[in-house]
Symmetry: C2
Subunit: 196 residues, 2 copies
């Protein structure tokens, strides 16, 4: 993509986020976004199918980066360690996009329709992670379980980091994996009655 | 609810599931469901707002049962053990409904719109579990992490059980929690490089 098109895309994303935050997602039109970005409405639709997709632009890049990292991990690594390594490999990607993704969370939290879309995208990412694990030989349903748990950890880390970036994302990830180990460590779920 | 109304509701659910499986969800109308169940269309709409909700009828009962079980668990139980106990307490509910919920899975798998709804309902259940844990004093985001991991385990167990009911659901749940402990046990995610 030529540099100017790339700039237009970035300007459109910034303009959309501003307008969504100022006036609400429902009240904002593609035409308004184009106007604020200083491009035509036609240019908007060359970049995005609709105003909603402006908010989900990074998902494909994230998915591809994670998929590649999972494929490239050492063959004998346990599946959850593979995800941990993969998440660490995209920390920089998250850091570069924080000025977009942090306010984006608030726009999404304010709209039930966007929340439903976010959940659907997150399930698609879960399936992508599970598929990537399966290609490493992790058994079908176990891959889904690991991908689910891994995404829960990533979400936990990101929530902390969006609330307070004084601590680096990598440390939030370490803490989140530690939490998972603590909560799910051997015998933790059996409680005091020895059930199971 | 009087006995006859209860029967009509049950008949409507069975008729809907049959028709969805035979002709597809999109192609089936509320009128057809009412006809097969031997009631009027008006009776259908006294029980359900639309044909989609017929498939999500059990969610409120499940949510309430889990919420109560979480509240009633011994105060010193670790959060994941609270969920394990709560899931075990609804095994009978799942068993009673297997003849509906097992074919229901296949109907949902065949329709992207129903899948999106299922995911949204599952997120609502996740929030309900997290809220119930918070009322026990589990810290905000940690409650979300535990609820996520717990639901991943429940989904893993149910998938196995829907595929083969020769093994009781309780045993699938035990296996699924064992898997979680194994995959997420201390140091599992650090792999061989000592990272973290």
């Amino acid at each position: 993509m030529p540099r100017t098109a790339d700039n237009a895309r970035k300007r459109l994303m910034e303009a959309a986020l501003e307008l969504f935050a100022e006036n609400g997602f429902e009240q904002t039109t593609a035409a308004q976004i184009a106007e604020r970005a200083g491009v035509t409405e036609r240019t908007f639709f060359r970049h995005f199918p609709d105003k909603r997709e402006v908010l989900f632009d990074g998902q494909a890049i994230l998915g591809a980066a994670l998929s590649n990292a999972i494929a490239a991990a050492p063959p004998d690594l346990p599946p959850i360690a593979v995800l941990r390594q993969a998440f660490n490999s995209v920390v920089e990607l998250f850091e570069q996009n924080r000025s977009f993704s942090e306010p984006r969370q608030r726009v999404i939290a304010a709209s039930p329709a966007l929340q439903e879309r976010e959940v659907a995208k997150s399930m698609a990412l879960m399936r992508l992670l599970a598929d990537a694990l399966r290609r490493r030989g992790v058994e079908g349903q176990r891959a889904t379980l690991v991908a689910h748990a891994g995404l829960a950890v990533l979400g936990y880390a990101l929530t902390g980091w969006f609330a307070d970036a004084a601590v680096p994302l990598r440390e939030y990830l370490d803490r989140a994996f530690d939490e998972l180990h603590h909560l799910a460590g051997p015998d933790m779920s059996r409680g005091s009655d020895g059930e199971g």
